[in-house]
C-alpha cells in the first residue's frame, strides 16, 4: 500500500490545526459554513484518529508520540493539547444546545436549495430541521468526546479541570442519547404496491435473468421473509406497526433511513433527558445515501472501544439495541437485494448503475449499495470469490467515475465528483419554503475507504494486491485534489485540479470531504495493524526448508564440528539461534521464516562445499 496513513494523517492534522487554530482560538466553519454537522466534521478530523488509532493517542499526554506532539505544537505543550481540544468540544456543545437544554441537530447552512425554486429563502422551520447527518455525526463525536474526556481524566488532578471534564462528558452523553433517539425517529419502511413505480423499479433492479415479474415478486418475498418477520420487532419510533401491510402478497418494501425525522414520527419514551423531540418533515422513504451515513455511525455503538471503555449508560444501551435491530435489518435487506441470486449471471449490484425505486440511477447508488454489501461481508466473513466480485464492482466504479480513467472531451462522468450528484429532500417544502437539496460529492473518499476495507478482508494475496493497487490509485487522485494555497494546504477539496473541464475554484476547505478522507486513512491504519496474510503453501515451504536445515545442522553436530575450533563453534551457535527463531515465527510470518531458512541452508552448505574441495584436491 502506497498510502502511508501515519504520515498523511499527521500532515492533515497539521493543516487542520493551522487552519482551525490561527490565533489561539478555535475557528469554526469551512465551505459549508458553520453548522452542527460541519463543525463536528472539523473536530472529528482530529478527534477521530486520536481516539481510534493507538499511535495518535493524545488523551493520555504521557503517551503522546513525539511526531504527534510536534504537529499539535500550536495548541501548546503536552497537557495543553488535550485541554484545548476539550475546550473546542465544550464550545461545540454549548453552541448546539438551545436555552432549554435541548441539543440542536439542525441542518442550517448544510443543505442547498432546489435550483427551480422561485424564492430561495429558507424558512426558519426548514433551517432548524433536525437531520440524519447531524444525528449520525453527533453520535461519532459524542462517543469520541466521552472516551477522550474519560481517558484524559486519569492524568488530571486539578479540581477545576476535573469538573470541566465531567461537565463536558455529561453534556456529550446527553447529546449522544438525543442523537440515538433522533436516529430511531428517522428510520423508515416504505411499503409499496408491486405494480407501482417503486415496485416495478425494484423488480427490474433485482431481475437479472429475465424472469417474469410475478416470479420475481415470489422469490423476493421468500428472500426477505426473515427481514419481514424481524420488522415486527420494530415497535418504537418511526417505521413501527407496519407488520400487517408487509404480509400482503402484492406488497414490496424498502427499509433504511430518511433524510431527517420522518413526518409524524412518534416521540420516543425515554427515562433520559433529551429535551424536546421536534416534529419532522421528511417523507417516509429511505434514502440510500442517508442510510449509509446512519449505518456507518451506528456501527460505532457496538465497537470494541465502546464496550471496553463502557461509554454507554444503561438507557443508551437500551436505545442502542433498538438501533442495532434496525442496523441488522437494513444491512441484510440491502445486501440481500444487491447480491440476490435468482439464476442470473450477475448480481443486481453488478448491473451498474444501480437504479433506485424512484427510477433515478447513478454510479453513486452503486457505490452506496456496495458500501453496505462490504460491511455485510465483513460481518459474515465472506469467501474470497464473493469479495472479489464486489472488488470488481469497485474497480469499475473507479473507472466509470474517471478516477482511474482520464476525462475525455465532452465527457460528463466526472460530474459525479464535482459538483456532485444532487438529491431532493422530499417533504422539506410541504409546509412552505423552497425544497431542500443535498449534493453528494464524497465519491472518491468513500470508494477509497470501502476498497481498503475490502482489501483487508481478502485472503488471496493476488486479489488483495489488486485491491491495494486500486486504493493507491484512488489515493493518488485524492492527493491531487488537495487545496494548494498557503493557508489551507493539505485540506480538501479542489476538484478543478484533476478535472480540467470543471472550472470552479474553491477557497475554503470542505470539512465534509476532509473528514471522509480521514476516515479512509483510519481504515488503512486499521488494515495495516492487523497481522499479515498467511499462506498455507508458504508455511508448508518454510516447514520443509527448516526440516532440511534442522537435519543438516544435526549432522554437523554429529560430525563433532563444534569441537573443531572457535570459528566453527561460533558459526554453529549463531545458526542454532537463527533456526530457533525461524521455527518460532513460521506460523505467523512464514515468508520471513523461509528467508531465514534460506540463509541457514546456504551457510551450512559452505561447510559441505569446503569438504568437497578436500576431495577435489586429491588427498
Amino acid at each position: 500500500m502506497r498510502v502511508e496513513p501515519r504520515q498523511q494523517l499527521l500532515e492533515i492534522w497539521q493543516a487542520v490545526i493551522r487552519h482551525s487554530y490561527p490565533d489561539d482560538k478555535w475557528q469554526w466553519g469551512g465551505r459549508d459554513g458553520s453548522n452542527s454537522i460541519s463543525d463536528a466534521e472539523q473536530l472529528l478530523c482530529i478527534l477521530g484518529p486520536a481516539t481510534e488509532i493507538d499511535a495518535f493517542t493524545i488523551d493520555e499526554p504521557d503517551r503522546m508520540a513525539k511526531d504527534v506532539q510536534a504537529v499539535l505544537r500550536p495548541l501548546g505543550g503536552l497537557t495543553d493539547i488535550p485541554l484545548r481540544l476539550i475546550e473546542a468540544v465544550d464550545e461545540y456543545l454549548q453552541k448546539y444546545t438551545d436555552e432549554s437544554g435541548t441539543p440542536i441537530f439542525s441542518c442550517d447552512s448544510y443543505f442547498g436549495v432546489s435550483a427551480d425554486a422561485d424564492d430561495k429563502t429558507l424558512l426558519p422551520r426548514q433551517r432548524n430541521q433536525p437531520v440524519v447527518d447531524s444525528f449520525a455525526i453527533s453520535l461519532s463525536l459524542s462517543l469520541a468526546a466521552i472516551g477522550f474526556a474519560r481517558q484524559f481524566r486519569e492524568s488530571v488532578k486539578r479540581r477545576a479541570i476535573l469538573d470541566k471534564l465531567d461537565d463536558v462528558e455529561a453534556r456529550a452523553s446527553k447529546r449522544l442519547t438525543a442523537a440515538m433517539v433522533g436516529l430511531l425517529r428517522c428510520f423508515t419502511v416504505n411499503i409499496f404496491d408491486v405494480d407501482s413505480r417503486d415496485g416495478r423499479a425494484l423488480c427490474r433492479t433485482v431481475n437479472q435473468s429475465r424472469l417474469s415479474d410475478r416470479r420475481i415478486v415470489t422469490l423476493l418475498h421468500k428472500e426477505l421473509r426473515e427481514i419481514r418477520a424481524s420488522l415486527r420487532d420494530v415497535t418504537i419510533g418511526s417505521g413501527a406497526g407496519l407488520a400487517e401491510d408487509l404480509e400482503l402478497p402484492d406488497r414490496l418494501f424498502e427499509c433504511g433511513w430518511g433524510w431527517g425525522i420522518i413526518r409524524d414520527a412518534p416521540a420516543i419514551t425515554t427515562r433520559a433527558d433529551v429535551g424536546e423531540q421536534q416534529e419532522g418533515m421528511a417523507e417516509p422513504a429511505p434514502y440510500i445515501y442517508f442510510t449509509v451515513v446512519a449505518l456507518d455511525a451506528i456501527e460505532a455503538l457496538f465497537s470494541e472501544r465502546t464496550r471496553l471503555l463502557g461509554l454507554l449508560t444503561e438507557e443508551q444501551q437500551r436505545l442502542a439495541q433498538g438501533l442495532q435491530l434496525r442496523w441488522d435489518l437494513t444491512q441484510s435487506y440491502w445486501s440481500k437485494i444487491a447480491v440476490a441470486d435468482f439464476g442470473g449471471v450477475r448480481w443486481p449490484l453488478e448491473d451498474i448503475p444501480w437504479q433506485r425505486t424512484t427510477e433515478k440511477e447513478t454510479e453513486y447508488f452503486s457505490l452506496h449499495v456496495s458500501s453496505i454489501v462490504v460491511q455485510d461481508l465483513v460481518r459474515k466473513r465472506a469467501r474470497d470469490t464473493d469479495l472479489d466480485r464486489v472488488g470488481r464492482v469497485l474497480e469499475e466504479l473507479a473507472n466509470r467515475s474517471r478516477i482511474t480513467r482520464r476525462v475525455f472531451g465532452g465527457d460528463e462522468a466526472y460530474q459525479l465528483h464535482a459538483p456532485g450528484f444532487t438529491i431532493n429532500l422530499n417533504g422539506s417544502d410541504e409546509d412552505g419554503g423552497p425544497r431542500l437539496t443535498w449534493v453528494m460529492s464524497d465519491f472518491a473518499p468513500l470508494l477509497l475507504q470501502r476498497t481498503i476495507s475490502l482489501a483487508g478482508l481478502l485472503g488471496d494475496p493476488e486479489l488483495r494486491g489488486r485491491m491495494l493497487t486500486l486504493a493507491d490509485q484512488i489515493w493518488a487522485h485524492l492527493h491531487d485534489r488537495r487545496l494548494r494555497d498557503e493557508d489551507r494546504r493539505g485540506l480538501w477539496d479542489q476538484p478543478a485540479q484533476v478535472f480540467p473541464p470543471f472550472t470552479t475554484e474553491y477557497d475554503k476547505p470542505s470539512w465534509y470531504y476532509t473528514k471522509r478522507v480521514v476516515d479512509g486513512l483510519m481504515t488503512a491504519a486499521d488494515v495495516i495493524t492487523s497481522p499479515p496474510l498467511r499462506s498455507t503453501s508458504l508455511t508448508e515451504e518454510a516447514t520443509y526448508l527448516l526440516s532440511e536445515a534442522d537435519h543438516l545442522f544435526d549432522r554437523e553436530l554429529l560430525k563433532g564440528s563444534p569441537s573443531g575450533g572457535q570459528a566453527i563453534r561460533g558459526e554453529l551457535q549463531e545458526l542454532r539461534i537463527k533456526l530457533d527463531r525461524a521455527w518460532a515465527i513460521r506460523d505467523g510470518r512464514p515468508g520471513t521464516a523461509v528467508a531465514l531458512a534460506n540463509e541457514i541452508l546456504l551457510r551450512l552448505d559452505r561447510f559441505a562445499a569446503a569438504r568437497d574441495d578436500d576431495v577435489d584436491g586429491g588427498f
Binding site: E60, P61, D62, R63, M64, G77, L78, T79, L83, S155, V156, K157, R158, I161
Partner: protein
C-alpha cells in the same frame, strides 16, 4: 526559590546535572548558590573544580554551621576560585554563582530541632540574597532530606521545588518512584512533617539522566528499533510508577564528557575543544530555564 535535588541511587549524575543547571542559571543572569547537603560525600567542589574543596572543606563548611560550630559557613565564588580557565571570570551579563561546600569527613547526622532551626535560618539568608538556592541532597532516604523537609515546612513563604534524578533504566525508575511514593519516601515523610501531599507532589518533578535517545547517532537500524521498544516499555513503567512524562521536568542525554569528566560543560567545551555534545548543553540550559518557568510546574 529553593530547589532540592535528590535521587534514590548513587551514580545518577545528580550532582553533575544540578551543578550544570546552576551554572546555566548563572549564565542566564540569575544569582545562584549551590548548597552541598550531601553530607556523606560532599563532592560538589569537584564538579566546580575548586582546589582544596574537592571533597569538602576542612572546617567551616555546612556541617560546622549546622552543628553550631560556625555562624557563617564558608562561601566559594566559583567564577573567581574555579581551578579551570574556562570557568574563570564571570561572563558579562551573568549572575553570581556561589558554592556552599560541606566539611570533608563530616558524615551524616540525625536531624534535630536545633538543626532544623539553623537550616531554616540559612534558607532565609540565602533566599534573600540569591534567586536560586540549589540544595544538593545525598542519594536515598537521608537525614538531610528529612531536615530540609522540616525546614521548608517552617518557611512556607519561600517557594520550594523538588527534583528527583534518576537514570533511564528499569531499576532506577522503580527506585526513584519508591523514593517519592514509597515507605518513608519524600511524600510520606513530608506529610508526617505537616506538608500537604498534593502540594508537595505538585512541586516535585523527575529528571531523567544519561538517556539514550532512539535517534542518537551511532546506533544501527536494529539497535534503534530495539531502543524504541525499550523506551516505550520504560515509558509505560514510569507512567505506572507516577514518574511519567507529565511528572518529568526534562532529561539529559548520555554524554561522554559527563561520563569521563564529571564536571561542568562550559562553552569552551562546545566551541573550542568541541568535546561535548551541544545537545547536552542545550538540555542543561532548558532545565535551567524550566526551573523558574511556572507553566512547567503547573499541575492539571
Amino acid at each position: 526559590m529553593l530547589i532540592f535535588a535528590t535521587s534514590d541511587k548513587g551514580g545518577t549524575g545528580r550532582s553533575v546535572t544540578s551543578g550544570n543547571m546552576a551554572y546555566r542559571c548563572a549564565l542566564s543572569g540569575k544569582h545562584v548558590c549551590y548548597v552541598d547537603f550531601d553530607f556523606g560525600s560532599p563532592t560538589a567542589g569537584a564538579v566546580f573544580n575548586i582546589d582544596g574543596a574537592q571533597h569538602g572543606v576542612t572546617g567551616g563548611g555546612l556541617h560546622s554551621y549546622l552543628l553550631g560550630d560556625t555562624a557563617d559557613p564558608e562561601r566559594i565564588d566559583i567564577f573567581s576560585r574555579a581551578d579551570r580557565l574556562s570557568l574563570r571570570d564571570r561572563p558579562p551579563g551573568s549572575g553570581r554563582l556561589v558554592l556552599l561546600p560541606g566539611d570533608s569527613g563530616g558524615g551524616e547526622f540525625p536531624s534535630s530541632r536545633e538543626l532544623v532551626r539553623r537550616c531554616a535560618t540559612l534558607f532565609d539568608e540565602l533566599n534573600s540574597e540569591f534567586e536560586i538556592v540549589l540544595v544538593d541532597l545525598s542519594a536515598g532516604r537521608s537525614y538531610a532530606a528529612q531536615m530540609v523537609l522540616a525546614a521548608a515546612r517552617e518557611r512556607p513563604e519561600i517557594p520550594a521545588r523538588w527534583l528527583v534524578f534518576h537514570r533511564w533504566t528499569q531499576q532506577h525508575i522503580i527506585a526513584a518512584s519508591s523514593l517519592v511514593y514509597g515507605d518513608r519516601g519524600i511524600l510520606e515523610t513530608g506529610v508526617a512533617l505537616g506538608h500537604d501531599r498534593e502540594q508537595l507532589l505538585g512541586s516535585l518533578r523527575f529528571i531523567r539522566t544519561a538517556v539514550v535517545e532512539p535517534d542518537a547517532q551511532g546506533l544501527t537500524a536494529e539497535q534503534t528499533a530495539w531502543v524504541n521498544d525499550c523506551n516505550a516499555a520504560l515509558q509505560g513503567l514510569a507512567r505506572d510508577r507516577g514518574a511519567g512524562k507529565l511528572a518529568v521536568l526534562g532529561s539529559v542525554p548520555l554524554d561522554p564528557v559527563l561520563q569521563w569528566r564529571e564536571q561542568l560543560i562550559t562553552n569552551r567545551d562546545l566551541t573550542v575543544s568541541r568535546i561535548a555534545n551541544p545537545q547536552t548543553a542545550e538540555a542543561f540550559e532548558e532545565l535551567a530555564r524550566l526551573l523558574t518557568d511556572d507553566a512547567a510546574w503547573e499541575t492539571i
